[in-house]
């Protein structure tokens, strides 16, 4: 992945999670992976198009997703949920959208043109994601609600 793309994603993830959830965020070591990756339980995906092609995946366990959704809802003075219902899924999707949106804005300022596709969310047990031919950058984020893994796979259009 092009070096210039890395920081916008890492910074946006860090600052959006910190602002929205108002918690301390610990960033893990970045690394690369290409083999299939187990999905923890809830995965929000945002597609990227434009100068590049690729996608960003936000992955967390069901428990963490519920906690994150509730904390976000609380900050907006909305009712709490006790299972990951439509409201919960929409909240997680929104978080993914905010992070990716901010990263794409930063990239625009650097001169790279990216477009977003509407996010989608997957939930289930024992899921794996694999895209042969694309290497993914893994950005692990540790928050009190649990672990969020951001999986960025982008390649240049050639």
């Amino acid at each position: 992945m092009r070096v210039e793309y890395i920081n916008p994603f890492v910074e946006s993830a860090y600052s959006v999670i910190q602002e929205v959830l108002n918690v301390e965020v610990k960033r893990g070591e970045l690394y690369l992976k290409s083999s299939s990756i187990p999905v923890l339980g809830v995965a929000a995906i945002v597609g990227l198009a434009g100068d590049v092609e690729g996608r960003v995946l936000f992955d967390m366990t069901r428990e963490s997703a519920l906690k994150v959704a509730n904390d976000m809802l609380k900050s907006m003075d909305m009712d709490q949920i006790d299972s990951l219902n439509d409201m919960g899924r929409a909240t997680i999707t929104e978080l993914a959208n905010m992070i990716t949106g901010q990263a794409v804005t930063k990239l625009h300022n650097l001169g790279f043109k990216f477009d977003l596709t509407p996010p989608a969310i997957f939930t289930g047990d024992n899921m794996e994601v694999s895209d042969p031919g694309v290497e993914a950058l893994i950005v692990p984020m540790e928050i009190p609600q649990g672990k969020i893994e951001i999986n960025v796979a982008i390649r240049e259009r050639t």
């Binding site: 092009r2 070096v3 031919g133």
Partner: protein
Amino acid sequence: MSSEDTSTRSFGRVPGAAIEGTMISRDSERGVEDHTETIDYKMVTFSLGGKDYGIDIMNVKEIAKFHTFTYVPNAPPFVRGVYNLRGDIISIIDLRLMFNLPAEQKDDNQPEDGLIIRMENHMLGVIVDNVARVVGISRRAIQPPHPIFADINLKYISGVVEHESRLYIILDVERIFHRDGGVSERSDPGRTEPDTRPMGQFGGEFPAHATEPQPVTHSRASGDERQVDFEFVRETLATFAGFHASEVNRQWLRRRFEDWRRERESVNKDVQLASTEDAEMFLEPFYSPSTNAFWSEQYVRRFASILPAAEHPSAFTAWNIGCGKGFETYSLALTLRDALPESRLKIWANDNDLLGVSTAPNLVFSAGVVPELFRRYVVAGRNGYSFSHEIRDLIVFEYHDVTNPSAVPEMDLIVVRDVLSFMPVDDQQAVIERIGEKAKPGAIAVLGENERMPVPEIWEPIEQAPSGVYRKVE
């Protein structure tokens, strides 16, 4: 040596073939040793609680540094945990704790020295104080153990031997980990292998594997010892410097080893590598010119001479694998810009070192380090000098692991200097294959000056080019 299996990382399977050479008298101060005595027993030596020990090299798969292992609850105290050895989960046993010897407490993030022990059908890691070296001795010199070695139960000792005025206690790992009272008796009760060896009888009776007929070496001791040293150097280069011996660097390694041996013997130092510093010293002549720096004018001219001079391609793509901080990539971009002024250039540069490659797109340097030839592309900035956009826009720097799939287009030139040798052998093969796939017919590949492309049916050396430069067969 061509028949030797390059993928093997083991000591034991390496044939005991000796290298021809002059005989070195190591024992001149003692003057009584028979120089022609056959070395038919090799052991890896190490220390435990201040004493010297050895283990038969046939039982040692490799020398290792254990970084983090996973604690296993309810295990005996000497089982430090399990360890992931390239996909195989092995138990790690602390020999010092097992034998109640004093053990130095290391910090959690400090690696432990150890050996990977290979037995009939499983592997095991053992932690020791320090791994010393490989020693070749004559089986005849091994003496039965004396009860005075009370530190370790006699039944685990297969003998003692003196070598270069040090006394080594040879441990019998089969007995320690397999036999009655051994570890596996408790941890692996399903094992029903009978103990066929008489206990406590050591006079002249050596472990079964030691008396099995082995390839008999009639060579002179010095040649045999040299082979032991060579294998050990080969193995420790991987442990200390991440340098993996393979077809890519075999020629250089052989040659360098002979030089190194002479250098070290002339200053009376051990041929074997004991530390990272030793390994770096050994590898010093390996690196190609202008490593981690901008290329010198001389190297630029040499490099330009291998480029297609007659025709000017309309588009020219280059791939720089292992670009590091970008010195090599910028040098390449400048060289190509001057050599192919008409061509549309694109250079893809990647490295899996995130910190290094992160600084590459905005590399800042002092003016003096760029050869005169390229000063016109240098612009002054607030923090120092950098290259003009004309050059920077030619390059795409990527954080990328070349063992993963890559989306780069087909290439006219691939520069991969001194990169392959620092990958595990399997990865080297995968990357060589990928380079072959991504290269256009007639493309040029530039390896390190001391590296060779091992697939002659795809890559042929370019005549009159510096060594390490190849053209893809059309």
